[in-house]
Amino acid sequence: MALHTLLLTSFDAFTALSQANHFSLLASHFSPNAALIAGFDFSVFLRPSPESALNNLSYLLVGLGWSLLLALASWVVAFVIGSVIGVMRTLPGRILPFIGACYVELFRNIPLLVQLFIWFFVIPDMTPLLGDWFKQKVPPIWQEFIAGTACLGLFTAARIAEQVRAGIGSLGAGQVGAGLALGLKRRQVYLLVLLPVAYRILIPTLTSEFLNLIKNTAVASTIGYVELAQRSASMAETTSRVYEAFAAGTLLYAILNLLVMALARGLERFTALPGFLGGRR
């Protein structure tokens, strides 16, 4: 009987949750005191989750997968646009560096949450044809994913642009001059001389940018994206095991963090150039 009621209530809660547009409603429905009694209960992870086909552990792991997917997609956007903007800021002339600077200021000075809401609510309304298609034809999860990717991608791009600019700046003007004197075009100087070294120097800072990006994906929970933080909270609500749910969610974030750091260290060793900082001599 207990399991039956649990299933029923969790199902009701979940339908209510998916009908309600906003995830943060969850916090207000919720009475926190219930779960704080007694010790850590591992069996809760094996009980059915709001998505009844999965148990709670797989429910969280799938959430982690969605977080990672969003982070990777945003990273691609951020890396490409951030590199372009960063290079623009180092070019001679007035206009291109100015545009680059405006981009960085704009995206750095508006809170991430506000940017996300602009991408999710405002932009589809402002672009009539594309927006209508977006709102009517795209499944909700992908709407959230696309808005999240655009938002996190362009937001992180502004930060990567600053790193790329600093990285190129740290190489010294001599390299540009040498490249140009050898008859390379400016584009070739960037692609063949500056960027390959700059990216290598930047691996540690870009890694911490990627870690920030993973953490920032949690903001997408506010538009109902089913990532890890959101799933920890809804597991906490349906099972009333707040402590277990958040401990597991936090642990998964920490593990992902460690994995990324280990991978980045490997990448750094793999790409190191002889003679440069950290390279073999």
């Binding site: 995830f23 943060s24 916090a27 207000s28 919720f30 926190p32 005191n33 704080l36 200021e105 704009l106 750095r108 000075n109 508006i110 809170p111 991430l112 949450l113 506000v114 940017q115 809401f117 602009i118 609510f121 405002v122 309304d125 402002m126 009539p128 870690l211 993973i214 953490k215 920032n216 994906t217 949690a218 903001v219 929970s221 506010t222 933080a229 920890s232 909270a233 906490a236 707040v242 402590y243 958040f246 969610g249 936090t250 974030y253 920490a254 963090n257």
Partner: protein, 228 residues
Amino acid sequence: MFFDWSAIPGALPILWQGMIVTLQITLVGVVVGVLLGTLLALFRLSPSRLLSWFSATYVTVFRSIPLVMVLFWFHLVLIPLVVGLLFPGRRLELRFITALTAFSLFEASYYAEIIRAGILSVTKGQFSAGLALGMNRRQVMRLVILPQALRRMVPLLLTQAIILFQDSTLVYVINLDDFFRKAYNVGNTVGTLNELILFAGAVYLVICTLASGCVRQLHRKLTVLTVK
């Protein structure tokens, strides 16, 4: 596609209330964050292995968790737990306290790293010089190292404050009515959500751009001073 900005003038008093909440969170976050951060940085650099380990763990833990998760932890687990122990059986309105605590403790970990880097940027020679003059470690820290380090860190500390000001919008997830949440609510009630979101974004943009411009000026000034 047409915008209707008419709801905004009437909503300004409500939005201002929200802005006060935002500013309170920012102010408390910065003050408590810097104090705790300094303490953590000193722990980290202290010869005691236990203190140093504690500080390192604190910083790593807070920096590897998303702020949204931290807010959930405080809102749903930690604050109810503490309040349940202190005032059993009473239902209190705790969101504001939750936000203040969460942001103070969270920012402390970020400030700790900034301050530690600042302290390390003062040369080791000065430390030895202080010791050689007969001061003890605490005096060297208080009279020689920290005054220089803090001055050097001011721009970074202020930049972090601007970040905190922006991050305070995340109290959205614990339903606390800060500036953005108020704007969102007004937009929802009146039916001009897009306009209110854009307006809130513009307000943040103006404030943060001005503030970071000031920080840059200050940075330039301080650099000149230290060169002299």
